[in-house]
């Protein structure tokens, strides 16, 4: 295989658009349209159209699917860039072909997480003025403001990272790229000279280091779990385990997301030689490792909540472990782990499609677990004298539409980006060529 052929491979999505593409585009737009309609309805009538209500005498929960899905998307976003950063920092070249897909997943995931914050509040029109104008005061105490801050920082770092690495590719492939996006390419590569390659590589390395440090310490192992872990009156949430627990969920979700996205591209564009079985096998092992961490941390919480718990902690833990949604989430994780172990023992058990099925199972499991975590936490507060406690909650169609819509937005994002820039790094196919040239 020649370098040119590989270049042609990664240019294929840009140069070729099939009929299936338009069918999928139509489906995605319908999904997004559904979400937009549901949100408009909510804006008009108020949050009353959701299944949410006041906790306490109100008999409901005040946070539900929106917040659960918000955490879920941040988790997916979070792990994507970690994977990519690990490729650069630890020289995990094997995963270079999926690095950019992972970065794109981060950008898309963070964006829809941001949308969820807006969708979740009662007065989205005030977000900018009320948060920004008081930022100097609230940053000292409000975990929600910490969240907005770190997510923004993370977004900027990831976008910079992606922007810098794209300059190299776009410059070299310029001749093959569609002319209609010429102004965009010119903007992306403004002031580019070959001398910057080395500098950019160093910058990207430092950015990767920043991201690797920032993510577990501040983002999904930090401010996101702290939204809950710092509230002592909700025993299902409070405590130090939430940081590691959220991180493990983020990593399992993210690896699953990358597996699903990579497989979709592999099938659509015949990239089995670039996104090889070997890449999927490696990702599957990582999924197993993080899944194991997830189960281990769940075990910590459950054992602490059932052995000799205080009344309030005991109530929330026993409600959680007996809930069908929790059984589903843990069951999916266990089945996934069984698959990972089985394919490690007997390689014939492995197939990329099976890993994708495992990935989808994990993604549904983590979404369900996150929503349940939010909802059950609010249903079982320490102060449970209210007869209406535990409250109840069933997500309304308006809320469910948001999940369909945000998945649609993320898919649309990939579909659009794939038509504009290569979603596989030029370095990856260059490296493949070099590897093949070695004796």
């Amino acid at each position: 295989m020649s370098t040119d052929a590989s270049e042609a491979d990664i240019l294929r999505p840009i140069q070729r658009t099939s009929r299936q593409y338009y069918v999928l585009l139509g489906a995605v737009l319908v999904a997004i349209g559904l979400f937009v309609a549901a949100w408009s309805y909510q804006l008009y009538h108020g949050m009353v159209v959701t299944g949410l209500a006041d906790w306490g005498s109100g008999g409901g929960v005040t946070w539900g699917l929106y917040i659960g899905a918000f955490i879920w998307w941040v988790g997916i976003a979070h792990g994507g860039i970690i994977l990519s950063a690990a490729v650069r920092l630890f020289g995990m070249k094997r995963y270079q072909p999926v690095a950019r897909l992972a970065e794109l997943l981060t950008i898309a995931g963070l964006s829809v997480a941001g949308i969820y914050i807006v969708v979740h509040v009662g007065r989205p029109d005030r977000i900018v003025t009320s948060i920004l104008l008081n930022y100097h005061e609230t940053i000292h105490s409000s975990p929600l403001v910490w969240d907005v801050t770190v997510i923004t920082l993370y977004f900027v770092m990831t976008a910079t990272y992606l922007g810098l690495t794209l300059r190299y590719d776009v410059t070299r492939l310029r001749g093959e790229l569609p002319e209609r996006f010429e102004p965009l390419y010119r903007l992306m590569t403004i002031g580019y000279t070959e001398r910057e390659d080395e500098i950019v590589e160093r910058m990207v390395w430092w950015l990767a280091l920043g991201i690797i440090v920032l993510a577990p310490l501040l983002l999904h192992g930090g401010v996101i779990p702290w939204l809950f872990a710092l509230i002592p009156s909700m025993p299902g949430w409070f405590g130090a385990v939430q940081g590691p627990q959220f991180l493990s969920i983020a990593l399992t979700s993210a690896i699953s997301g990358v597996i699903v996205a990579a497989y979709a591209f592999r099938r659509t564009y015949d990239w089995a030689h670039i996104l090889s079985d070997d890449v999927f096998r490696g990702l599957t092992l990582w999924l197993g490792l993080f899944g194991l961490l997830f189960l281990w941390l769940q075990l910590q919480q459950v054992i602490g909540g059932v052995y000799a718990p205080s009344n309030d902690l005991g109530a929330v833990t026993s409600a959680m472990v007996t809930h069908p949604a929790y059984v589903y989430a843990i069951g999916m994780m266990v089945l996934t782990l069984a698959y990972v172990f089985a394919q490690a023992l007997d390689p014939t058990v492995f197939s990329p499609l099976r890993s994708v099925i495992a990935g989808v199972a994990v993604l549904t499991a983590t979404l369900v677990e996150k929503v349940l975590f939010v909802v059950e936490g609010l249903m079982y507060p320490t102060f449970d004298l209210y007869a209406s406690i535990p409250g109840d909650y069933v997500p309304s169609l308006v809320e469910l539409a948001s999940v369909v819509g945000t998945v649609g937005i993320v898919v649309l994002f990939f579909m659009v980006v794939a038509k504009v820039v290569p979603v596989i790094e030029l370095h990856a196919v260059e490296a493949e060529h070099e590897t093949e040239a070695e004796p």
Binding site: A38, Y41, H45, G46, M47, V48, V49, T50, G51, L52, A53, D54, W55, G56, S57, G58, G59, G60, T62, W63, H120, V121, G122, R123, P124, R126, I127, S130, I131, N134, E137, T138, S141, S142, P143, L144, V145, V148, L227, I231, P232, S233, M234, N311, L378, P381, T382, F383, L385, Y386, A387, S388, G391, D392, V394, P395, S396, L397, V398
Partner: protein
Amino acid sequence: MSDDPLEELHTDEWEAEMESVLEETEYDTELGLEMAKDAQRLVAGDLSEAEFYERYHGAVVEEFGVDDRPVGTEEGVVEAMRGHDGPGLLQRLADAETADDVDRRELLKKFGAGAAFLGLGAAATKEASEEAAAATPTGSEDDDGTQWGMVIDLNKCDGCLACVTACQQENNTSTGANWMYVFTYEEPNQETQNFLVRPCQHCTNAPCEKVCPTTARHTRSKDGLVLTDYDVCIGCRYCQVACPYGVNYFQWGEPDTPGSELDENHVYDERDRRVDSRPPKGVMGKCTMCPSRQDGKMGEEQVGTTACEQACAMDAIHFGDMNDPDDDPQQHLERVRNEQPNDLDTYPNRPTNTVSTFRLLEEFGTDPNVVYVGNEPSEEAEQVEGPVTYEDIGEVDRRKEVLDDGTFGGVRS
């Protein structure tokens, strides 16, 4: 009663008791005693306030290291004593002396220990400082500013829900948004029904304010009320999540009462911030302790009152300045404590009274400004239907029943 009030008070017995009180402290007993005597002269009019302070300024500085009252001109001294927190020393001492329901021991404390060091901010005796800690919100002993709050006597509550109705009418809250809420509950193995009256606790260390991403939830500096600025709130509901008491009620849809029907004097407070009456759609509401009343917007006679307090025929709710020993909350506490003294003659080490008081969920460090007289519900307590139900007063207890009507494609619960 003799003509000279000092004669009656200033006995050998009094002096001995004073000495024993002061000796328990780390401060100079003689100084305290002298000051106490002069404080009595001050009340009797034998000594002017300025003279009193001139006399003790040096000694006070020596003993405590500080005396932050301006001395020099008589005017300055008197002004300092009239102070920023209500009546002057003279008035307070006179009040203490003439109050009928203040027992001799209380009086002793006020004169012997309290009076000597009024204006210093330092508690003079161990007992007095313990008493202060029990009577004022934790962490605010040094803060002499107004702190609105309530003493709620649960032993007097009969569960009639008049306070709930009054609050709803005053604030036009939507159905089910029971800013004032009354639990009727039973304890295991007990026949009796108990009540817990639950307004917002207006915490000094309010978790809702801490987590707010916008400063909409804030504490009003002039009087410690915890309020929501309806024009700043973005409706993220984090305050509701963080509050351990469940006092927040979000405005999920259009309010039952349109804005045009609200009394303008009952919407904006004196800072011109929209903090009173029911919230508009999409923002958070909760019990406000009636800032419009406290600002005098409903008439001077309504300052220091709340709608729920006025509606309570059982006199269970005592709203007022928690930092003011002469205001209704502390007076009520003192009254019930005096009514149930302990047998100190036989058991001198027992507490002075047998009254049970508590603050709700104090373990969360919220420093609530509601003090309850009565028993705290145990963890086994269970809410039951009360003598008057929420339906009886045309209200709804479980708000979700109302909200489910607006849910789109949801499942009715």
